[in-house]
């Protein structure tokens, strides 16, 4: 052991080598345990990672979740089937239309009904727009975490346009409860359609911009290529789906494998890559945005045909009618007059449907849809009553997050940030 200094020394920053123990002069051997999150700008909400570090290398990573658990599944058991939509839409808050669609398709299968064709097209349309908006948030937040601040601004700017469209169509920017059992709550307004068309004109140029900014950007490449690698074998064992699995070369997409809402009739490609790293996932998501726009264009073409957007069976369809007034979307005055002043039967029917709702035959179904993050599954059980008996949300973020230790252990802390961003977890969906 070195002799103790006789006079006090004030060390300056450069004099202290953090790798050397000042007391013994030996290289430090112990590892460090740090908490990343739950409040950390790069953990996508309230994810907490317990990292064991050796210098800058991650030895062990333990994700800790549950900070956003809101009991959505339990809550649905205490509400009518229709109210369930407003709960599940809040699970993964960046892909509300997917949650609504998965739940409604499951309930419709229990009821043995199918939404009218126009409603199916609108559902596909809103889902694909939602896929783009979700990927934009991923691009924006992921870019920000790696220091690409302009990408963050661009991503949120374009997403704002989409949120405007959602607001125009559904009345709400998020948590829309727009897709309902038996169809959608109201038809698309003309202004909404115009906004979508304008968006389709602008967006391809914007994606070109992102590609020009990032594709060959040396910093972007340095931070993403070869980072967060997850082979197809490991991904499948860990249950990973969506872009992360497709980036590892497995061409699975629920829209192709088990089509719903007529996806088999749309012309689109499912991009696949074999590099299995963060950069491959980035490229793949940009291509997916273009493919989604292709589907949206086909939807607009099909929407020229008018038709009902809600099933006609009065035992299932939501009775209230909405209309757009000077102050926005609200109850249709003509319908209110009808039930309040003209028809007692209509009022009773309205009251029964709203308070008691649909009765769903006993049974169970598992309905999967392809959300921006992978397979979003709804396991819905009915015991023949007016409320769900069990709603289990198989959220892709929840499952994909399990792959984090495999992706980051043995690599640098900085790579962990890029790897997590490339999974695109949304804690609302993880914790439910």
């Amino acid at each position: 052991m070195a002799d103790a200094p006789t006079t006090p020394v004030t060390p300056r920053a450069n004099d202290v080598d953090p790798a050397v123990d000042a007391r013994t002069g030996e290289i430090r051997q112990e590892t460090m345990i740090i908490n990343m999150g739950p409040q950390h700008p790069s953990t996508h909400g309230v994810l907490r990672l317990l990292l064991e570090l050796d210098g800058e290398t991650v030895l062990k990573c333990t994700p800790i979740i549950g900070y956003l658990h809101t009991g959505i599944e339990k809550n649905t058991e205490y509400r009518t089937w229709m109210q369930g939509v407003t709960f599940v839409t809040r699970a993964d808050y960046l892909s509300p239309f997917f949650n609504e669609l998965g739940y409604c398709l499951a309930v419709e299968r229990l009821l043995g009904i199918e939404a009218p064709p126009r409603a199916q097209v609108i559902r596909v349309l809103m889902n694909e727009l939602n896929r783009i908006s979700s990927h934009l948030v991923w691009l924006a937040t992921g870019g920000l975490e790696l220091g690409a601040v302009s990408v963050m601004l661009y991503g949120f700017r374009e997403r704002e346009v989409l949120l405007d469209i959602f607001e125009e169509v559904t009345g709400l920017r998020m948590n829309h409860a727009y897709i309902r059992i038996g169809g959608v709550i109201m038809d698309l307004p003309d202004e909404g359609l115009r906004k979508i068309e304008r968006f389709l004109e602008d967006m391809p140029k914007r994606i070109d911009d992102y590609e020009r900014l990032l594709d060959e950007n040396p910093i972007w490449l340095e931070r993403n290529v070869g980072v967060g690698v997850l082979s197809a074998e490991k991904a499948l064992a860990l249950g990973v789906t969506g872009p992360v699995l497709r980036a590892a070369g497995v061409a699975t997409d629920v829209r192709k494998d088990a089509p719903y809402c007529g996806y088999e009739t749309y012309d689109f490609e499912v991009p696949v890559s074999h590099d299995a790293d963060a950069y491959a996932r980035y490229r793949l998501r940009l291509v997916e945005m273009r493919e989604s726009m292709k589907i949206v264009r086909q939807c607009l073409e099909r929407l020229r045909e008018p038709g009902p957007v809600m099933i006609e069976d009065p035992k299932v369809a939501w009775p209230a009618k909405l209309s757009v007034g000077a102050d926005g979307i609200g109850n249709d005055p003509a319908y209110v007059t009808h039930i309040m002043e003209e028809s007692m039967e209509a009022l009773i029917h309205h009251f029964k449907m709203v308070t008691e709702g649909v009765e769903v035959p006993a049974g169970e179904v598992y309905q999967a849809v392809e959300s921006p993050r992978g397979e979003l599954g709804f396991y819905v059980v009915s015991n023949g009553e007016h409320r769900p008996y069990r709603v289990k949300i198989r959220d892709p973020s929840f499952v994909n997050l399990q792959a984090i230790p495999t992706m980051v252990e043995g690599f640098l802390v900085a790579d962990a940030i890029a790897a997590i961003a490339s999974i695109d977890p949304v804690m609302g969906g993880v914790d439910r």
């Binding site: 979740i65 549950g66 658990h69 009991g71 599944e73 339990k74 809550n75 058991e77 205490y78 299968r109 229990l110 043995g112 499948l236 064992a237 860990l238 249950g239 990973v240 497995v250 699975t252 494998d257 088990a258 049974g363 169970e364 179904v365 598992y366 999967a368 397979e375 599954g377 396991y379 059980v381 008996y389 069990r390 289990k392 198989r394 929840f398 499952v399 997050l401 399990q402 914790d431 439910r432």
Partner: protein, 166 residues
Amino acid sequence: MKPAELAERVAIQCPDTLVARGEVTTIVERDDLLETLAWLRHDEALALGFCSSVTATDWPGSDPRLWVVYELLSIEHHHRLRVKVGLPESDAHVPTVTTMFPTADWHERETHDFYGIVFDGHPDPRPLLLPDGWEGFPLLKTEELGGVNTRYHGAFIPPVDTRTTT
């Protein structure tokens, strides 16, 4: 594979198999679970090698009270199978499937949090979603929604039927 063909094939080893709403469900005994899953995975025509989800349902007053539900998927053939295991209330244990499906890790931890089912042999059986020290298993039907103290400034969430909603 079409649901009917799939059911026929699965029924070779699991006679309690049925098709409903285009989905195939098979019910197996707890002691046969691991063996059955291994067969479903390795049989070439079935190739159910992907576990989408593990969860449970609770049916108080009936026997078995708890059902553990496994959703299997074949990545090659794009068909799905649901495997269900019934557990009596007094002995809610089931062997873990994490050795076969590492993805079941968090699903099983969540199911334990919610229903109290013990997955024997689970490598890391800590609570996952619920706050530390949470008592009870909230998704059991015998648990009320609400009626609990929260940690935030001593707030109390009243049970559903005593809330004013207007």
